[in-house]
């Protein structure tokens, strides 16, 4: 399908295409860890509809609507991207595919990758063939990320990587990992890091899942013991991986802020509050006040995300402001889930109770202000780089 340039024409084309191609089962607006289609070599589709939806969307570039067509995208500009999400929301469609490849590696490759690397790595991400995970954090390098110690030994045409990563989300399900490794131990810590792509399907890589407070165990310890990495698999220059790492983080932060999935996932607050009303129809005034404040902030933060998309479309990098989006979006999401739990009351206290996955979802949101850089680190970035305040951060 050729996507029309003209926004109005595009909208009507797309609307028809969605009606014809988005399976009924995929129109329930679900967007939880269990219902997301993550893709990957070992992916088991939850239903034939999920598979159909992925394949049909990928065939017309709509798993990555803004990526260039030659790399598997639909090449949509900002106006048509907005229309795409509006039309998806109109029929409550699930996103056909979500992944770290789409959110994080893709933008970094588009910016820093060679043409050959883009051609090689991006289309399998767009099709959901290869699943990626992120190897940044280590036991001694969390907020102080530049302190990574995982070492890459130069062996001529390749490196041998040895060390340990931790909190690697979905490492046990991923096919490949993008990782920060130290290629120069003598250099100052930011200057000795390289950003490399590592095939996890080799003897030198093992993973061990870690259980989360939500009961799930989507993240892992990842061990490298002489894992082989051909030199062509470096993104950007050797020892300049920190630039790639930071750039990728700005995209990760925008995504976590809600840019990827929308801030208002799930039922409307009004409907949830209505469930709490007793026989007299009385809604707890404190709860309602909290809900109103949350709604004000959610709508305004949504506008802020839109504004920053408009800003980046006009050519400017969002850069350090992504710290603001991440901080505001994640703190908001935590508030939202605290409120949902309060509204759920006694019904929300069981893993499999009347509120479904509400408790697990609530617990999961607590990580939002930790993963991708903590709230404190975001405030530090803003005070140093936006406000120019010196000293400790």
């Amino acid at each position: 399908m050729q996507h029309a340039q003209d926004p109005a024409l595009f909208r009507s084309q797309l609307r028809q295409w969605l009606l014809d191609n988005c399976p009924e089962q995929m129109r329930d607006g679900q967007n939880t860890e269990d219902t997301i289609c993550w893709g990957g070599a070992g992916w088991v589709f939850s239903s034939p509809a999920q598979q159909q939806w992925l394949e049909r969307a990928a065939a017309v570039g709509l798993t990555v609507p803004t990526w260039p067509v030659e790399y598997g995208g639909a090449g949509l500009d900002r106006a048509r991207e907005k229309i795409f999400y509006e039309e998806m929301a109109r029929i409550n469609a699930r996103l056909p595919l979500q992944s770290f490849g789409i959110w994080m590696l893709g933008p970094a490759l588009l910016h820093f990758g060679s043409h050959a690397q883009k051609l090689h790595y991006l289309p399998p991400i767009a099709r959901g063939d290869i699943r990626w995970c992120q190897g940044y954090s280590e036991p001694g390098a969390g907020s102080d990320l530049a302190n990574v110690q995982t070492h890459a030994e130069d062996c001529g045409d390749h490196w041998q990587v040895t060390g340990q990563k931790i909190w690697t989300s979905y490492a046990d399900k991923a096919d490949w990992i993008f990782a920060l490794v130290r290629t120069d131990r003598a250099a100052p810590k930011h200057r000795g890091i390289s950003f490399v792509l590592i095939d996890m399907n080799q003897p030198g890589v093992t993973t061990r899942p870690i259980k989360l407070i939500s009961g799930a165990s989507p993240f892992c310890e990842t061990f490298f013991d002489g894992a082989k990495v051909p030199k062509a698999q470096i993104v950007g220059e050797e020892n300049r991986g920190w630039d790639v790492a930071k750039y990728l983080l700005t995209h990760e932060r925008q995504m976590i802020s809600g840019g990827g999935q929308g801030l208002q996932g799930g039922r409307a607050l009004g409907a949830i509050l209505a469930d709490t009303a007793g026989p007299e129809g009385r809604i707890d005034p404190m709860l309602r006040a909290d809900a109103l404040r949350l709604e004000v902030d959610t709508l305004a933060t949504g506008m802020t995300l839109e504004r920053y998309k408009d800003i980046s479309e006009s050519g400017a990098e969002v850069g350090d402001a992504s710290a603001m989006l991440k901080y505001m979006g994640t703190e908001l999401n935590k508030r939202r889930h605290e409120l949902l739990m309060t509204a759920g009351g006694l019904d929300a206290l069981d893993w499999d109770g009347a509120m479904g996955s509400a408790p697990a979802d609530w617990l999961r949101t607590k990580a939002n202000s930790i993963e991708g850089g903590t709230s404190e680190i975001m405030l530090g970035i803003i005070s140093r780089r936006v406000l120019g305040l010196g000293g400790q951060s």
Partner: protein, 372 residues
């Protein structure tokens, strides 16, 4: 369905407008200008307003056919924000934004002359709406009873912004047919104005109407047709003014954090203050997006702008209160002195917070629209 796409970035023209306004205001109306007026016991500077009118600001929402610049609500917001940044004193909001919007709703030519005079800076207006302690345009005891071809108005209004000095008053009144708006000369017989000693040193007045005679022509129209759009426009522009106020107060605060030394370092090196300042910046950014969105919605489809406007005013209210509270706290003792400007920002923020609806007023509107 296919609405024009709203872009939440300033166009080149808008950036130029903001820069030009900033340049003018830094020269003609820095914060010291407000201080000077206050110390002289004045609440208006006709020369300043005259200059603003010459630059087209008074006619920002007046049609070009009536001598206006007709730049729209987003542009009015840009001007309001620039004025807010240095607390510039002018009847911009009540005259150029609200009265002009109200008068534009009257299509039969009766208000042509009034609009021309607004654009020329020759006529100022005040809107007399409030009667109680809280903004509530639905509450109106001031009544207008029919008498011959005209009406007789009796009742009182409080907190009429620019009410002591304005040339004319748009007053909301109750009639047997519902709420309406009259356009009256402020000096009409039976009108008595008492200037209030407002904390922000601006003009506001309590006005009593004691059997004031109005003609049928003085009646502009129904409140929902004339006043409601004007209030929306005023709320959007006031929210914009408040973002300017926030920028002004925050700029002073960040400056101070980088300058004041204690324990041998600038206080901006203390992480406790850094994080609070950074948080405030985030709040400011979110509010700025909401305010720009409200201006854009007002220009695109004013009849559907209520949600956007209330989000903007609610957010602006919360952010302004935070900015001035943190502003005083982070300045320490000097922040409490009259000689220092932060107090002026704080007092203006309090007035803006109440004017045209406080946080809870707007949250209620949002809740009603969103089913909460």
């Amino acid at each position: 369905m296919t609405q024009p796409m709203i872009k939440l970035v300033h166009s080149e023209d808008e950036t130029m407008l903001a820069d030009a306004a900033r340049g003018f205001l830094d020269g003609a109306a820095p914060v010291s200008h407000l201080r000077g007026l206050r110390d002289a016991g004045r609440s208006h500077d006709p020369d300043l307003w005259g200059e603003m009118a010459r630059m087209g600001w008074a006619g920002v929402l007046v049609p070009e056919t009536h001598g206006g610049a007709d730049m729209g609500h987003a542009a009015a917001g840009i001007l309001a924000a620039q004025m807010g940044q240095t607390l510039a004193v002018s009847p911009f909001l009540s005259t150029a934004v609200m009265a002009a919007t109200a008068l534009r709703q009257v299509a039969d030519g009766r208000t042509d002359q009034a609009l021309r005079q607004i654009a020329a800076g020759q006529r100022t207006y005040a809107l007399a709406i409030d009667e109680g302690r809280k903004f509530d345009p639905g509450r109106c005891d001031l009544h207008a009873v029919r008498e011959g071809n005209g009406y007789r108005l009796s009742g009182r209004k409080g907190f009429v912004v620019d009410g002591a000095l304005a040339d004319r008053v748009l007053v909301q009144a109750r009639t047997d047919d519902g709420l309406v708006v009259f356009d009256l000369p402020a000096g009409a017989e039976g009108i008595e104005r008492r200037a209030r000693a407002a904390i922000d040193s601006r003009d506001s007045a309590d006005i009593t109407f004691d059997g004031v005679v109005a003609t049928g022509d003085d009646l502009l129209g129904r409140a929902d047709q004339v006043l409601r759009p004007a209030i929306l426009a005023g709320q959007a522009a006031l929210a914009a003014e408040m973002t300017g106020l926030v920028a002004g107060a925050f700029g002073m605060t960040v400056g101070y954090l980088n300058e004041r030394k204690q324990f041998g370092v600038t206080i901006g090196q203390f992480q406790a203050l850094q994080h609070r300042a950074a948080h405030l910046w985030c709040e400011q950014e979110v509010t700025a997006a909401a305010v720009l969105n409200a201006g854009r919605q007002m220009d695109a489809a004013p009849q559907d702008a209520a949600l956007a406007v209330s989000i903007a005013k609610a957010r602006a209210t919360a952010t302004a209160i935070l900015a001035v509270s943190e502003g005083v706290q982070m300045h320490g003792g000097i922040g409490m002195t009259d000689a220092f400007d932060m107090g002026l920002f704080m007092k203006r923020a309090r007035v803006c917070a109440e004017w045209l609806g406080d946080y809870s007023y707007h949250a209620e509107i949002i809740g009603n629209i969103r089913g909460i």
